[in-house]
């Protein structure tokens, strides 16, 4: 398997406060990697640095061999990277429909974008009932669905998800995990999944990496992590 994403000695922070310290990470194509760790470990910062929302202070990020630091944020989606940020970023003043359209705007294949939208409505049936509602009218979970659906409309090859299960009903969380698994298996989608729902994430992930205080302290196969009680206790606390 080839590496889609390679993170080399990445350093980043906010102002003078360093957060990420020498982070190394390789994500193979067509796999799901779960990024785990306590609150404040730097998971969100890692994803934001990968997509250029936070400027790295050192290190490299390679996507399919190309250095991402030279790529503008708005070009990422054209290269196949979608990022569902923490806090979702639903455009509150646009309708559900417009939010979804936004996801497919960059695409040449309008017909497929339409089709993808239809699929999202099928998947997240509450959204279908609220097409004309504005983003801010939605419930917390509905917004999460919308953000996820919007990323799917973009049909990415690499999907960065920041706590997608936050605020979602268990049933929907399960559906999403299943969907990610299916997309990986059927379309070769690569996923970098930040989750607090450790068991849910590891149940579909190929690999798990654990972050602590801005460093990656552990990286192992998901099965291994789940199976090895010692590792689990030490790093994941259960």
């Amino acid at each position: 398997m080839t590496a889609v994403l390679e993170v080399d000695n990445l350093n980043a922070g906010y102002g003078v406060v360093p957060v990420l310290q020498d982070v190394n990470l390789t994500v193979a194509a067509g796999t799901i990697t779960a990024v785990l760790g306590a609150n404040g470990a730097g998971k969100t910062t890692l994803l934001r640095t990968i997509t250029g929302l936070v400027r790295p202070t050192g290190g490299r990020i390679l996507f399919s061999g190309a250095d991402l630091r030279a790529v503008k944020v708005e070009q990422l989606v054209r290269r196949g990277i979608a990022h569902v940020p923490e806090g979702r970023g639903v455009v509150a003043e646009l309708t559900v429909d417009e939010n979804l359209r936004l996801g497919g705007l960059w695409r040449k294949d309008k017909a497929d974008a339409k089709k993808a939208t239809a699929e999202v409505y099928e998947l997240f049936e509450p959204l279908a009932r609220r097409r004309a509602h504005l983003g801010h009218q939605l419930s917390g979970g509905e917004r999460q669905m919308l953000a996820l659906g919007r990323a799917l409309v973009a049909r990415p090859t690499l999907l960065l998800l920041d706590e997608p299960s936050l605020g979602l009903a268990p049933k929907v969380t399960a559906q999403i995990m299943a969907l990610l698994k299916r997309l990986r298996d059927d379309t070769g989608l690569t996923v970098l999944l930040v989750e607090q729902n450790v068991r849910g994430a590891l149940s579909i992930a190929d690999r798990g990496v654990v972050m602590s205080l801005g460093r990656i302290v552990m990286s192992a196969g998901a099965d291994e992590l789940l199976a090895d009680d010692g590792l689990r206790h030490a790093y994941l606390g259960f």
Binding site: H136, S139, G167
Partner: protein
């Protein structure tokens, strides 16, 4: 509330006001602030002796503006309410003082008490007007509040023209002011006396605003600015808090307007037009929004910047043809350019820039 970590309900102003710790401190708030005021007053007292009458007049003007910017920075910086109409509130204070002073002098009942009474009346009238506007403002946000207060800024001439018998329309009124007390000696420059009056008022205004900011009301102001929903849940009456902020800052504006009337011995509507209101806003933002030191910088800037730009261009030797074009316009262009540059270089205002500088210096050494 839904689970978004980004919350739209808060005033956008809260995003850029640099917070400073203002938790309750030991000792008495009043004594601590009085100490500050006393130090400031004594310093200015000596300064007023060291400078010539025109500088004293400038000092008095700075102080008059400071009365206003102190209240405005609390309203806009700490409570998140934008006002483009504080010039009109100053007019309330100024006209009240003018009418009261002239009335006192017509009846020959002037004394040391007269001026304070007039100023107090001015504060009262402005605060009442502020209450009226504040009640409306509490329902409005962002540009809608800006629009309404802008309309407020524009009504002053209409009132003075409509009730020309009282306010004498565009021409305005002259204001009777007692000369400096004889005890100060026959050659005591009136400008120095005016500076004292103005400084006294500014100190009072600062004292009140500082006290308020450090009380639970100040906390409520910021809470309302940051998150109205959370503020309500914390037991804060949002609308009442906003009206209170408006009233207090209007009172400060009334005081500033009254002082301005006293030191210029005249009032007329175009003094208090939109330009003044915009200048006040400019002052608090350039000075550093939400901080009383920023308000002081702003007041200083309001007086010094136009003065300096004119002085800078004064020295140029130009041919008459060119001079005719540049005179007046060049200082304005420089003034505009300065605003832009300061905003780009120090987006948090002067006070913030100094604070950042201080931090850097401290870190270095």
């Amino acid at each position: 509330m839904s689970t978004t970590k980004v919350r739209p309900a808060r005033s956008p102003i809260s995003r850029f006001v640099t917070p400073r710790p203002t938790g309750p401190r030991r000792g008495s708030t009043l004594l601590r602030h009085l100490l500050w005021v006393a130090v400031g007053a004594v310093a200015v007292y000596f300064v007023s002796y060291g400078i010539d009458p025109f500088r004293n007049y400038q000092l008095a003007t700075v102080a008059a503006y400071l009365c206003v910017t102190a209240g405005l920075t609390m309203l806009t910086g700490l409570n998140g309410q934008l006002s483009l109409g504080h010039g009109a509130l100053m007019a309330c204070g100024a006209y009240t003082v003018a009418l009261a002073q002239n009335e006192f002098s017509d009846r020959g009942v002037l004394g040391a008490w007269a001026l304070p009474v007039s100023l107090a009346l001015g504060v009262l009238v402005a605060a009442l007007a502020g209450a009226l506007i504040g009640v409306c403002a509490a329902r409005l946000r962002g540009p809608y509040l800006a629009g309404v207060t802008l309309a407020v800024a524009l009504v002053v001439p209409a009132f003075t023209t409509r009730f020309a018998g009282l306010f004498n329309a565009d021409q305005g009124l002259s204001v009777y002011v007692d000369p400096a007390p004889a005890a100060l000696g026959p050659y005591f420059p009136p400008e120095r006396w005016q500076a004292w009056i103005a400084i006294g008022a500014a100190m009072l205004s600062l004292l009140i605003v500082a006290n308020l900011v450090h009380s639970r009301y100040g906390r409520a102001f910021k809470a309302v600015r940051d998150d109205e929903v959370a503020a309500k849940l914390a037991g804060i009456h949002v609308a009442r808090t906003q009206v209170l902020a408006f009233v207090v800052s209007a009172g400060c504006a009334g005081l500033g307007g009254g002082v301005l009337a006293v030191i210029s011995q005249s009032v007329s509507p175009s003094v208090f037009g939109l330009t003044l209101s915009l200048n006040l806003l400019l002052a608090i933002v350039l000075g550093g929004l939400g901080s009383l030191f920023g308000a002081a910088w702003g007041a200083l800037l309001l007086v010094l910047l136009p003065y300096l730009t004119t002085q800078v261009t004064r020295g140029l030797e130009l041919s008459p043809g060119l001079a005719n074009k540049l005179e007046g316009n060049l200082p304005l262009a420089i003034f505009g350019l300065t605003l832009i540059i300061v905003m780009l270089v120090a987006p948090g205002g002067i006070q913030d820039a100094f604070r950042a500088l201080g931090r850097t210096v401290r870190r270095r050494f």
